[in-house]
Subunit: 332 residues, 2 copies
């Protein structure tokens, strides 16, 4: 059977076969009961998160919706300071979707979860009639544990703290946007979609004054910085020259009329750290693959209105606000 | 703003406003970070589950997609023997969806989670362009803990065990199907959608030989019984006369050409229990609102082929198999 049928979501035999033949073995789901039952280690604090993925197109340079769905949830746990352990995956499939594409996505989820060292323990499949969805939507929820003493929060942020960015911006959004518009670049622009739990684990060990982390996905770096300002109660002064944008991404942004500051990323994070620990933290981050381009990009400052200010390369200062409206719909 | 716009899913200001004004207060989500961080009690075993909800129509007699999304996940945890504690909620919304309907669904989720005593701790919102979804899809994931010694599994099932059903069948599927086809009944046929954790908690305390529980949702009672037979390795002999079908549901099924055995339920469960404990278990179940119509409906038997046999009212015997194909798409 090459195409998904409505009966694949019926709860009956077709669905059982689909799950037993394709989902369970590829995702390594061992229990096909109503819930996965798992031994849990020591008592302590847990972290729980969820995200739905509706990216269009489903396949793009550097990744696909499956890799995105795993990495996005792993990263939400990671930037909370948690060690990601388990994930769930819910699939909403449009009738007529290609079984081949579904298998590719499942393999991609498996590879990403292996890469991150996270187990997919529960799943669900629904099929909706043709024209009532767009190929495939995936929801993932994630579960992790927090180490003793880990207490990351915007409320820990103080003036003078340094703002650190782990890599160049705009790669994911531009890769998806280019694919959507049938534009190809040479060399190709790849999404940065990647699990960040290796990086965050190292960061937690590297800096006692690590205040908080956040991953600048939808809304881009600008929106994340503004969130940090609003939630912490302080302003942020960013040095534009310190924010790395790859030449290809910069060119594509000019072509497509986009501002890289507002473009979604799926493999970088922003951290705030005490000034004394910033250099050491960046040095450690740079030793990881995900953090090789880490740099201090700004400083927490006392300004009215919890404002984010961008000091431009030519010396001007621009106020950076959240994304308003929809620069790039369905980017993740 | 009366209708959902693409910008509500952008990650920027519109989405922040939507979440802060509507989602967070109604669902009682306190933390707006990447993950919810929660204190967790003693070490032990945990249960994790997920389900997506694509029911059409979104509102039906006796419930709506919001109540369904909470109860479905609470029930998956409950029948695993777990105490449900936390839930996540992911929303995929079609551009142009009514804000009023969204608020109604959110209120309904809040009411159901209060009823079940479960906290919604994390959420996500995505908006897709008009025509690329069908109003609203919701994914929920659930997290619970298992008490010491609770070990429910089809592998515990033995010949001679009794099969118990907690209420009448077909109510949810018929209510949704009637609403979808513009048929109304007098008195109205209501979905049975309800949280079962109160009932399962009582059952866990009532019978030491409780082998397993499962809720017969998609695919109906027939599919669930067949699953139990397949997973346990034994057959099941069911007394048709003991399976309660309300007269209105029976009439509607005749009208719509449906078999109540294959219709989805959202507020009942099937349990397998040792023969010595069956009467006591049913008596205790009947003292709860969700289990008032509980009854023994059959017995685990040694027959070849892990077969489910139905002894009909007129004395014949029929083989019951899983639902094949799609009797009722998008019922949950």
């Amino acid at each position: 059977m090459e195409l998904i049928q409505l009966g694949h979501g019926s709860g009956g035999r077709l669905m059982h076969d689909l799950i037993r033949e394709h989902f369970a073995p590829v995702l390594n789901i061992e229990q096909l009961n109503d819930s996965a039952v798992l031994a849990h280690g020591p008592a302590g604090r847990i972290a729980i998160t969820t995200d739905s993925y509706v990216v269009s197109p489903l396949f793009f340079p550097g990744g696909d919706i499956g890799r995105l769905a795993v990495c996005g949830t792993v990263n939400d746990l990671s930037v909370s300071g948690a060690l990601p352990l388990y994930m769930t995956a819910g699939f909403i499939i449009e009738e007529g979707f290609s079984m081949k594409d579904l298998k590719t996505v499942l393999s991609s989820m498996r590879a990403a979860s292996d890469e991150a060292g996270v187990r997919i323990v529960a799943g669900d499949t629904k099929v909706v009639d043709r024209g009532k969805a767009d190929g495939l939507f995936i929801n993932t929820a994630g579960f992790g544990v927090l180490g003793d003493g880990v207490d990351l929060s915007p409320l820990q942020v103080r003036p003078g703290d340094r703002v650190v960015l782990s890599g160049s911006i705009g790669n994911h959004g531009v890769a998806v946007m280019a694919e959507r518009n049938g534009i190809s670049f040479d060399p190709p622009l790849l999404s940065d979609v990647a699990p960040l739990n290796g990086l965050t684990k190292r960061m937690l060990g590297a800096a006692k004054t690590l205040r908080m982390m956040r991953d600048p996905t939808r809304g881009g770096l600008a929106t994340t910085l503004k969130e940090i300002a609003v939630d912490s109660g302080f302003g942020i002064m960013v040095q534009e020259a310190a924010v790395m944008v790859r030449p290809g991404v910069r060119g594509a942004c000019e072509l497509l009329g986009l501002d890289p500051l507002y473009i979604a990323n799926e493999g970088i994070l922003v951290a705030v750290v005490g000034p004394g620990d910033a250099a050491q933290l960046v040095a450690e981050m740079r030793e990881t693959a995900a953090g090789a381009d880490s740099a201090v990009i700004g400083e927490v400052v006392e300004v009215p209105g919890r404002t984010v200010l961008l000091k431009t390369a030519v010396g001007g200062i621009r106020i950076v606000d959240m994304l308003s409206g929809d620069q790039l719909p369905r980017i993740c």
